[in-house]
Symmetry: C2
């Protein structure tokens, strides 16, 4: 626990708060949601979540130091016309909203990749986004009968109701009935 | 500058160092690389870049708090068999390596999305990754004659030479000859 607290001190406030209260065994209790529960058309929502200027600029300085994500004045000279979040920050926020919205109470085993991402509109400092995760379809795994794949369409909306981002991918989920298909 | 230093104090060391030395006007001098320079088959490399346990866990606590990214013991019970980097951290590291490798000296205008991401193998604490960016093809923009698209295949390799991640996408690049096609 000492190491955890010491380490947390060099992280962002949000990450630090999470790590100091998080217990490894608390994250994976018996899942509430299994592969069988992700039926086509089922929708999960989460949010809203505000993105601050500080978060956008801090993330960009670390991972995506392009002028439109770093500095208001420099950003005005770009095609974006002003400071906006890195598309990768949008992906990371979407990931966290999925985790808080339903993944951490599911039998999720991660994902082998991402099918497609579309950044449709800029996310500006102070914007709030809401997640909508829609199950598109699902299938069992031939090589691993204990799991299946669930394909999702993830969308982030701003307060005006515009979809600012779409991400499509399949997640691996443990099956409640662990029998071969 | 005071605001920049104050803000930098709450970021990771790496982001803070970057922000305190970065000058907005220093990032977009006259680009060295334009759309015309990204000819099919051209390759850019960068790295190696080490990923520490602290970085992996800190990122996960902020954006992807699943047990395989947060805690060694909890991670052993998962399909990953031990602590590994979030796939989103791999994407962010790849983005930063592209920026440092060639993007910040190019006429890049960002990207409309991502075509595909494949996370092929786990990145473990202490692993070093190297970037290889290969130009697949390019085309001009019909609606914006001042720019074109360059489609890249981005790969991250570990020290053993295994490809641990592939990302395919098109970047928007300013054209040296800003005439309509």
């Amino acid at each position: 626990m000492n190491n955890r607290v010491r380490f947390a001190a060099c992280l962002t406030d949000r990450a630090a708060r999470f790590l100091t209260v998080w217990k490894p065994q608390a994250v994976q209790p018996v899942p509430e949601l299994y592969w069988e529960d992700f039926t086509p058309g089922r929708v999960f929502t989460h949010g809203p979540r505000r993105l601050s200027r500080e978060e956008m600029v801090g993330f960009a300085a670390e991972f995506d130091p392009q002028p439109m994500h770093l500095d208001e004045e420099a950003a005005r000279a770009t095609m974006m016309g002003g400071l906006c979040a890195s598309g990768w920050l949008s992906c990371c926020i979407l990931m966290r909203m999925c985790a808080d919205g339903f993944l951490l109470r599911s039998s999720s085993m991660g994902a082998p990749g991402v099918d497609e991402v579309k950044w449709l509109a800029a996310i500006r400092p102070g914007d709030e986004v809401t997640l909508r995760a829609t199950v598109l379809d699902s299938r069992t795994s031939k090589s691993r009968p204990e799991m299946g794949f669930v394909r999702f369409n993830f969308e982030l909306f701003n307060v005006g109701g515009d979809c600012v981002m779409v991400l499509t991918t399949s997640l691996m989920m443990g099956r409640r009935e662990k029998t071969a298909s």
